[in-house]
Assembly symmetry: C2
């Protein structure tokens, strides 16, 4: 199973792709889509749409995960974020990917173990869990954290079956089974 995590935003949209290999998580790629600020709204949304589509085409994920956004106190910002989020979800749904949503609390709890962890803690734990050589940038880290969160919500038995590590649902032969996180 390959998971694409997205952290949508109208200025910067982060993406991160990981593989779930039984009980192990493996980093595939991540990055940030920088959306030009000087273009009309529709063109900015198209930049998000096109770039996520490109990530999907080049990495071929089997599923995708997004953070459920907390609603901003500024209604204009909420509307802008909603539009960016709509563009991101369109790119995913248009590629026939199922889209799972997790709250920030679920993501942080899943990655750091604390639903109220600071941004830096999320970055550090993402680096640790995916054995990255350097600290990932904030947008990439949030997107990868979302993907990791989704991986943690897949039952271990399912993950082991997917990789052939678990032979059947009635078998108790689990080789190398370890619950991550």
């Amino acid at each position: 199973m390959r998971i694409l995590g997205i952290d949508p935003g109208l200025r910067r949209t982060g993406f991160g792709v990981i593989d779930v290999l039984g009980s192990r998580l493996q980093y595939v790629t991540s990055g940030t889509i920088i959306v030009p600020a000087d273009q009309p709204l529709a063109q900015r949304l198209k930049v998000i749409l096109d770039n996520i589509r490109e990530v999907v085409q080049s990495t071929e994920p089997t599923v995708s995960a997004l953070e459920k956004v907390f609603v901003n106190t500024n209604p204009a910002s909420t509307l802008l974020l909603g539009q960016a989020r709509g563009a991101a979800m369109c790119a995913l749904a248009d590629s026939d990917l199922d889209v799972y949503e997790y709250t920030a609390l679920q993501v942080k709890k899943s990655v750091v173990g604390n639903g109220h962890a600071a941004k830096e803690q999320v970055q550090k734990m993402v680096q640790h869990l995916l054995a990255l050589s350097g600290l990932p940038a904030a947008d990439s880290a949030d997107a990868l954290a979302c993907a990791i969160c989704h991986a943690h919500f897949i039952p271990l038995t399912q993950r082991l079956k997917d990789t052939g590590q678990l032979k059947s649902s009635h078998s108790s032969r689990v080789r190398g089974g370890r619950l991550v996180g």
Copy 2:
């Protein structure tokens, strides 16, 4: 010039297409995309994306117009509307259509002559301006009103030139020139 007007919403998205023939406006088609409420958000956005794309493919507009939304007092509704709007704009931008935005005040002023006109007045004026046999439904009327508003913002000289009614920018021969609205 053929204008596609869109009135985006997560439950119902209205669309309306008109032709600008010199000084005359001609109704082409209109309708409402009913978005199933029981599906996951990404699927609902895809319904908007796919249906608007279909309208674009079948009617081949040259430009599109949307109402700039007033921000709802309920932040959750604002986020949902933003996402629906994002999906609509993606469909338009993805079809290489320029997207123009007008405030509700501009649309009402342009169609009814009064920026604070009631919904019913907009419906009646849309019916009148496009010589429709019946009153258009609210969603269609809003989308058509947006398209009419855009038509009114195109300089008359441009509209006459497009249809060959005005021979050159230096010519004063205007045949059948009448400013609509």
